[in-house]
Symmetry: C2
Subunit: 181 residues, 2 copies
């Protein structure tokens, strides 16, 4: 697992924020030379591909300041300190969509930007969705619009770039294989 | 495209690095309240899904300091200033794999971490690969091990988490649909 390992020589934290932190490290390369690595620390996140009983996918549309536009994404959220991934999945699904599920299936984990960040997203499928009467509320700085659509409509949103992030692109491809079999 | 738009009130650059920069912004939310956004600027990247004439996929294994492990990924690299995406694709394919192609097909673009970064990856398929006798060399701090394998072997690497990043997971799913049709 550690081909071409880079040894940390110095590590300097330049910023500690609410969501991310920034570290700059000097590393020793396999040939003995030094290089600088700029690294973003992130607590990790869980994303959920929610599939309704009639085979539709539940998405959330929200504004993403980093891109200065809104995106249609599968529900997702940061893992809170001390929280298990399964609890994050249940919590975020309810907060963002108002749905509860007792049928979560773990699908895949992936690093989003391995060149500079340690963020890992853990992806689950949720089936057997039921609407909650008074769902738990999410972060007060999150404004979310709910979209439920067929896999064909989701594929069109990917072509139109309304869906435009890697985890959701992966989820749509996966759902296509799952729902069109 | 701008549902729930967040207006920038203040923007402070905290770090300007070689690969990424860090900005903190205060924004006005749709309900008039303020929130803080921690944003990483990245120049964007191109990734290539290279498929050989005998239907194998070309991967590169490299150490990723952010994750303290090596990953098997499709070839990819940052867009250099003034460079078109197509030129980045041709350059990175040759530097990282020693292959040239005159059959690039644009596939998809996606944001990797829309919650905190503006990095966009533009994904191409490359076919008609030919080995270059003396390929252009890449960054001197990059150490790369080449892997050519079947789609079945790639799927197994995804299960085993040797493949563990979102762009490569997406590419493997896409290649599966393409090569198994």
């Amino acid at each position: 697992m550690d081909r071409f390992e880079e040894k940390t020589l110095t590590s300097t934290t330049l910023y500690e924020g609410k969501v991310i932190s920034l570290r700059v490290e000097e590393v020793e390369l396999p040939d003995g030379k030094w290089a600088k690595r700029e690294l973003v620390d992130h607590p990790g996140a869980v994303a959920i591909l929610p599939i309704t009983n009639d085979g539709k996918i539940v998405f959330v549309e929200q504004y993403r300041k980093a891109l200065n536009r809104s995106l249609v994404e599968i529900p997702a959220g940061k893992i809170e300190p001390g929280e298990s991934k399964e609890i994050t999945a249940i919590r975020e699904l309810e907060e963002e969509t108002g749905y509860r599920s007792d049928q979560f299936t773990y699908l895949q984990s992936f690093a989003t930007s391995p060149g500079f960040a340690n963020e890992i997203i853990h992806l689950y499928i949720a089936r057997g969705l039921e609407k909650v009467e008074k769902p738990a509320e999410g972060d007060e700085d999150e404004f979310i619009h709910l979209i439920e659509c067929t896999i064909e409509e989701a594929e069109q949103m990917l072509v139109d770039e309304r869906i435009y992030d890697a985890k959701t692109a992966f989820a749509v491809l996966f759902a296509k294989n799952l729902l069109k079999q």
